[in-house]
Symmetry: C3
Subunit: 138 residues, 3 copies
Amino acid sequence: MKTYRKELTFNLPSRRAFVNITPDVSQAIQESGIKEGFVLVNAMHITASVFINDDESGLHNDFERFLEKLAPEKPYEQYQHNGYEDNADAHLKRTIMGREVVCAITDGELDFGTWERIFYGEFDGKRPKRILIKIIGE
Amino acid sequence: MKTYRKELTFNLPSRRAFVNITPDVSQAIQESGIKEGFVLVNAMHITASVFINDDESGLHNDFERFLEKLAPEKPYEQYQHNGYEDNADAHLKRTIMGREVVCAITDGELDFGTWERIFYGEFDGKRPKRILIKIIGE
Amino acid sequence: MKTYRKELTFNLPSRRAFVNITPDVSQAIQESGIKEGFVLVNAMHITASVFINDDESGLHNDFERFLEKLAPEKPYEQYQHNGYEDNADAHLKRTIMGREVVCAITDGELDFGTWERIFYGEFDGKRPKRILIKIIGE
């Protein structure tokens, strides 16, 4: 069994953003030399998400409105977590979107459906945040 | 380490449906010959879900109402994604329900609690859609 | 490839609760002797969750209100599942929070960001319920 580990870091200029990291994950798989196995991709921060969906800007705007409806950012004082912080909504939004994805690797590539793309979901940006890619297989 | 890969395809007659695929996953594990490891089961489409819950029709109706409350199908024009499509709600519903499950394999079988069952969740049906089963272990 | 399996059991005195199980998972990794690989931690019951977030009581209260807003416990009769049971809301709450986490193991330890902690989320307590820890790697 082989394993491979890589971190990505993003410092996004806005509080919330979605970034397509599929090319980064594909590159890590190439670097690993692993042909058959699993790749785990997870946010290392609890106010961010890694998820799979469509690379379509209209849908990303729909996600923004959907998440703001379910867990609105403001008023900050609606959340007990926001004593010294203002990011309680980011913890809730990340929960809806998910922390991690596990994807199959087949023949040395991401084993994906036509429209599957991996996104980093930032919900409390403007500072450096890390994503972990861990690959196991052969 | 051994790996095994299998696809399932469903062409469901309704826009939304839940299908118990536990027997299909168990059969794939048998076919793999893998006794100890992990099985990943994921939708290969971004308007569908694989999740674990109860095989109880009343609960499935509760899921339908819950998802329609959080991400209603209509009016279609409430979503920016719905310029040429009408399935933005399906992308959101699948996000709530989840893309994938990872399950343990122990002694050649799904290592499950009493009531755990794996479901395919369709949110934009009436066409062929694929599910990936990937198994790694020994 | 090595594998290791362990169950945790909790019998919590309240209907809903969050328990930090990070030390239990770390201990299982030590017991396994596995230095590089993946650990799967999942609820074996479909009214409970395993998720990763912050060990901060204010945030946990925010989660309680968030979940009660999206899938309220009462009135029980709003759910079709509640013919002989009263826990439909627990099935829905667990869906939002997630069934499982998959975490990387690197150098014999949980490969975590600074604030990541693994929680057991109970949504229908007052009885013994099980969590599965399954580790694969080398």
